[in-house]
């Protein structure tokens, strides 16, 4: 490791802002875990017993006249020309009484997707401020009298930002995914593959690193953390939200969808499309057709975006004066 990168990593470690971001991301991730603890609760034996009891009562009532009432109403309806319906659908079933028993696969894993937002925002801020603080304090000039060429200073800073972002992602995973997993393992038999959480942790780390690189790249290009935040907000509002409304096919390029695909493994989206009806020649209708962004595709899109922003930051940094 070069001395420049080591110096940047030390700076990352001793900055208060780094710790602030880590604390906030940990707190937000913890709230995800807390929510999961509430949802993961297994029904108590008393609740199950009560459920059985009310099932028995309803069942008895159903057999004792309830079913006949239904059949009678069915006959009346038929007389008025309505389609008859199946009264068995209304028969009480035990499974509708017993409280739902959550499983890790269906109820735990989907929580982990919500860790992406705090990780992305935290890592972006971390990367941006690592760079902009130096422009703000004017110490970039002094730094560049020690490190040349500028590309070298740039690489070390972006790498340090990436390391910081990866730590943000890992921390989010440790607290959020770890807490959620613990909730399901402790309150409940796991019912699913707990190891999937480690995969999420790895993907959150990569996501954090990429977000921090984007933050650092924007920091080099714009030099003010407020400007970076402004651009990010503008992007979210105009490109992520409005553009897909105007042009649905752009949806697979929105970062939100790709982030979800990357963290959760895949992300579905719908595009209104003309679907021909084989029974009508030349006929058909516009329907929402579901498509899927795969995990790897999402990761690739994010990596390309990070690379493009980083290169833009480098180009601006190399030509602009530093005072």
């Amino acid at each position: 490791m070069s001395g420049v990168l080591r110096a940047e990593l030390v700076r990352l470690r001793v900055r208060r802002f780094t710790w602030l971001v880590l604390v906030v991301v940990a707190a937000v991730s913890a709230s995800v875990a807390v929510y999961a603890w509430r949802e993961a609760r297994t029904p108590t034996p008393a609740e199950v017993a009560a459920a059985h009891e009310s099932y028995q009562q309803d069942r008895a009532a159903w057999l004792d006249g309830g079913r006949d009432d239904c059949e009678k109403r069915n006959r009346d309806m038929k007389a008025k020309g309505f389609e008859p319906f199946d009264c068995d659908l209304f028969a009480p079933e035990l499974e509708n009484y017993v409280p739902y028993e959550p499983t890790w696969d269906d109820d735990g894993m989907p929580y982990l997707g919500s860790l992406a937002s705090p990780v992305v925002i935290g890592a972006l801020l971390l990367g941006a401020s690592l760079v902009t603080a130096e422009f703000g304090a004017g110490s970039m000039g002094l730094w560049l009298t020690f490190v040349a060429p500028r590309g070298r200073a740039f690489r070390a800073k972006v790498a340090a930002a990436g390391v910081g972002g990866a730590l943000v992602g890992l921390l989010g995973a440790l607290v959020g995914a770890g807490g959620t997993l613990a909730a399901f393992a402790v309150l409940h038999r796991l019912h699913g593959n707990g190891w999937a959480a480690s995969g999420v942790a790895g993907r959150l780390a990569v996501l954090g690193a990429l977000a921090a690189v984007v933050g650092a790249g924007l920091g080099f290009a714009l030099r003010h953390v407020a400007a970076v935040m402004g651009i990010a907000l503008w992007w979210v509002l105009s490109v992520e939200v409005v553009a897909p409304l105007a042009w649905a096919r752009a949806r697979p390029l929105t970062l939100g969808l790709n982030v979800r695909a990357w963290v959760e493994g895949s992300a579905p989206y719908t595009v209104p499309q003309w679907v021909a009806d084989p029974q009508l020649t030349g006929g058909g209708s516009v329907q929402d057709v579901e498509h899927v962004v795969r995990g790897l595709q999402g990761g690739l899109v994010l990596a390309v975006v990070a690379a493009v922003v980083a290169v833009a930051g480098l180009v601006v940094f190399r030509v602009r004066d530093v005072s």
Partner: protein, 317 residues
């Protein structure tokens, strides 16, 4: 010593001022800084000194012209020389939240300088006691000292100091002056920009003077001062008129100026005393007036005040 530490040729830089007018701040500057010794860069506020120093450090890109530092083209070959340069440009800019020591340690690490060197430079600038305080709590002079310490970390061949004595107490000014002399005596080159002409006069070997982005004088300090004319002798006596007549009678050119006699191209002071005693006048004071850097500077830069407050079209044209 023919070798040049810094060689600027045809250097030009202008800044865009809203809306879209280009204001030239350095105009075709040719500047030579000989290797070894203290070189003073002088000029009024806004004359382009800091901009020039930034260009030779590769921080600001010139529009045209070439920069060579220690024999290498800048910014192209900057990586080859950056390790031999130490510089503080304008205000000392360390990380305000970190202590002086931590700042220096980070720089030392980046420059692959052993950590032990940090204590040495802290001692050299007299900041060891306060090294643990965050830089944001330093006084102006302490920040200045910390920044100078940073420049010394790598034992540079070229030290660039932009107004290094700004905010320093008299002891600090004296220390910086001694430091510059010491560096020069070790064969290093010190390029210093400052308005403290009295201090520079004591320490500078060569000078260059900028006015409105152009070079108006360059050379050895002694030569510059000599070109301002020979020393003169000021004599205070009871009757200056009669004294002037008596001295003129001996073929010396003397005139009365502000209640004293001023002898230009003067003979030895002892001869003057003897002649005056001969006519019954006894000097109360005899002072040799040498042209100083301040008067030379003022004459060279007359009429080129801060560029910013003047019509750009008129400055230096």
């Amino acid at each position: 010593m023919d070798e040049l530490a810094v060689e600027l040729r045809g250097l030009t830089k202008s800044y865009v001022r809203f809306p879209l007018t280009r204001v030239p701040v350095v105009r075709g500057l040719n500047l030579d800084v000989p290797a070894g010794g203290v070189h003073a860069l002088l000029g009024p506020n806004g004359s382009g000194k800091t901009t020039t120093l930034r260009m030779l450090l590769g921080l600001v890109r010139p529009e045209s012209g070439t920069v060579r530092v220690l024999g290498h083209a800048v910014p192209g070959a900057l990586p080859a020389v950056v390790g031999r340069i130490g510089a503080v440009v304008e205000q000392p800019r360390l990380f305000p939240a970190f202590s002086g020591r931590r700042n220096l340690e980070l720089l030392a690490r980046a420059a692959d300088v052993p950590a032990a060197r940090v204590d040495e430079v802290l001692d050299e600038v007299g900041l060891r006691d306060r090294a643990r305080d965050p830089v944001r709590r330093y006084s102006l002079g302490m920040k200045q000292r910390a920044a100078i310490a940073a420049t010394l970390l790598r034992r540079p061949d070229l030290v660039v100091l932009d107004e290094p004595t700004n905010g320093l107490d008299p002891q600090g000014v004296h220390d910086v002056r001694a430091l510059m002399r010491r560096l020069a005596d070790q064969g290093r080159t010190v390029l210093v920009s400052s308005h403290a002409l009295g201090d520079l006069e004591q320490v500078a070997d060569t000078v260059s003077v900028l006015a409105a982005g152009r070079l108006v004088a360059q050379g050895r300090l002694d030569d510059l001062l000599a070109s301002r004319g020979a020393p003169r002798l000021r004599v205070r006596v009871a009757d200056p008129e009669r004294a002037a007549l008596a001295l003129a009678g001996h073929g010396w050119s003397a005139h009365v100026d502000g209640g004293a006699v001023v002898v230009t191209d003067p003979p030895p002071a002892a001869d003057v005393s003897r002649v005056l005693a001969g006519v019954g006048l006894y000097p109360e004071e005899l002072t040799v007036l040498r042209p100083d850097l301040e008067s030379a500077y003022l004459a060279l830069t007359a009429g080129s005040g801060p560029a910013a407050v003047r019509d750009p079209a008129e400055v230096g044209s």
